[in-house]
Assembly symmetry: C2
Homo-oligomer: 280 residues x 2
DNA sequence: CGACCGTTTGAGTGCGGTCAAAAGAAGTGG
DNA sequence: CCACTTCTTTTGACCGCACTCAAACGGTCG
């Protein structure tokens, strides 16, 4: 069980931890969690894979509650989230916070801030987690691999789409619907990261953090949470949440599943255009 | 005055129209509005510039109120906005709409949807406008120009930062503060697109559209608009808005100016790494 | 065991939503 | 150029969702 990491792995979803434990145990048979996400959708060659593996070459365990980066810090690094949950958020002068995005295993952290001198958002571990920091200058190399650059560009654009969806949820929906959206979003993203997730997961969010994500107060978040249980839409045992009526919850939250709409055929055009450039 | 375009140019901010009119009159001395935005910040070579110019090779005038793309349409094209204002928004089943982003001359339109099979958001012209559609497969070529790919990647990430800022405004701020944020954001973005903009601009938004952007009702938007005038923060003559006390308005809206924090020095690493790849 | 943090519940308040009507502005057709 | 329609803006009155303040309860850790 990965000796040397002085924190409690049992706080992490077991399979995610296993994913990392396996990696250290049999490095030749597994690959990085972000690299795996890419290869699941796209065929990449050996050098492209090698680059992705370098991004997560230096895993680092962090404990729940640890602030990974603070808004305003020099933005010289980004991270791969290898295990656990992380949130990115911003603070207002009065101390109130807004969660901008939740991050799950396989996500890249702090990528928006790569374009800035200073981090635009803070990062905090919601559960014990494993992150892999990398120097942002490392990214420079990726632009010499046209297809990989295209893939990374599409990932960034796809995240703009889902960010827009969250924006719409925040602007149009009632507080209850925003919590519904949050839950369905978590469920779908955990599923796509871990095929074994069905209808329940370990929620690493306090009422306060749910509130900061949905843009409401913790008190109201508590009330609406219990309302969702009373409605029979979700169930709750300890920190384990079960989505009982997923279609109803998705409809309530106006959730649009974007995962199935991702477009990769046009990436063939990149290959063709690369060949043309090489040939010409 | 650009004969052949059958709509009223006088509805556009004069300088923006001039920008386009000049281009058609003396094509050899000017460049595309997006290309100009890139070259203002980055040094690019001839072939990179040629690629950018191709993006806006087919200008197309559209009238105010025209729906450029509809959510769900096949996403085979994107656009350069050459003149006028455009909004991207999404609809909910009940007909309510949320504006995701306002677009000004020099912005790229529908880029997030490039990663999808179908457009994730609708686009509508807020004023008479000029757009340049281009096939998204054209983007494939850009990934063979490492530095340009890096620039475009950074632009996308920078937009994720500002999208996060709008998200925070929507989640944390009062309705009044969100309108303040909206106004300051418009002012700053118009300034960076047009150096002649000082403290006033022609607002191409109805109360309804302001409301859809700030996530409130048109009635309340009207009340708060007049409250901002009563507070002496803004002034209004017809559709021309003057920002009277910009610092106060920026503070009220918790506006963070990201423009000055854009980081380009690390792009040198791309050049170096390109040289290394060529040399090695 | 006591201190601390997160959660829950209650009561009262207010910001922003809803409904409605009238005045004003802009577009349309004769 | 005017009359008509339609959309936008404004104002008033009322309502309700979500916020605030406060206190009690429960789990966790030193």
């Amino acid at each position: 069980m990965s000796p040397g990491f002085g924190f409690k792995y049992h706080l992490l979803p077991v399979r995610l931890v296993c994913g990392y434990a396996l990696r250290t145990a049999t490095p030749e048979k597994t690959m990085g969690v972000f690299a795996e996400r890419v290869t699941r959708r796209f065929r990449i060659d050996r050098s492209e894979l090698a680059f992705l593996e370098r991004l997560e070459a230096s895993p680092l365990p962090v404990k729940r509650g640890h602030t990974i980066v603070q808004e305003g810090d020099p933005a010289d690094r980004a991270f791969v989230l290898m295990a656990g949950w992380v949130m990115s958020y911003s603070c207002f002068p009065d101390g109130s916070q807004q969660v901008r995005r939740l991050h799950f295993p396989g996500d890249l952290l702090a990528m928006p801030s790569v374009s800035m001198r200073h981090h635009a958002e803070s990062l905090e571990a919601l559960s014990d987690a494993v992150i892999a920091p990398f120097d942002k200058r490392l990214l420079a190399e990726m632009f010499n691999m046209p297809r990989l650059a295209a893939i990374m560009y599409m990932f960034a654009q796809a995240e703009r789409v889902t960010a827009g969806d969250r924006h719409a949820s925040l602007g149009l929906d009632s507080a209850k619907a925003r919590i519904a959206y949050l839950l369905i979003d978590i469920l779908h993203r955990l599923r796509s990261a871990d095929g074994q997730v069905e209808n329940s997961f370990l929620l690493h969010l306090t009422r306060r953090q749910i509130a900061q994500t949905a843009g409401i107060t913790p008190v109201h978040a508590s009330r609406l949470w219990n309302a969702l249980i009373a409605d029979g839409l979700i169930r709750c045992v300890g920190r384990t949440v079960s989505i009982v009526r997923e279609p109803s919850l998705a409809q309530l939250g106006h959730y649009a599943d974007r995962d199935g709409d991702l477009d990769f055929p046009w990436l063939r055009a990149v290959e063709d255009s690369t060949k043309a450039a090489v040939a010409g």
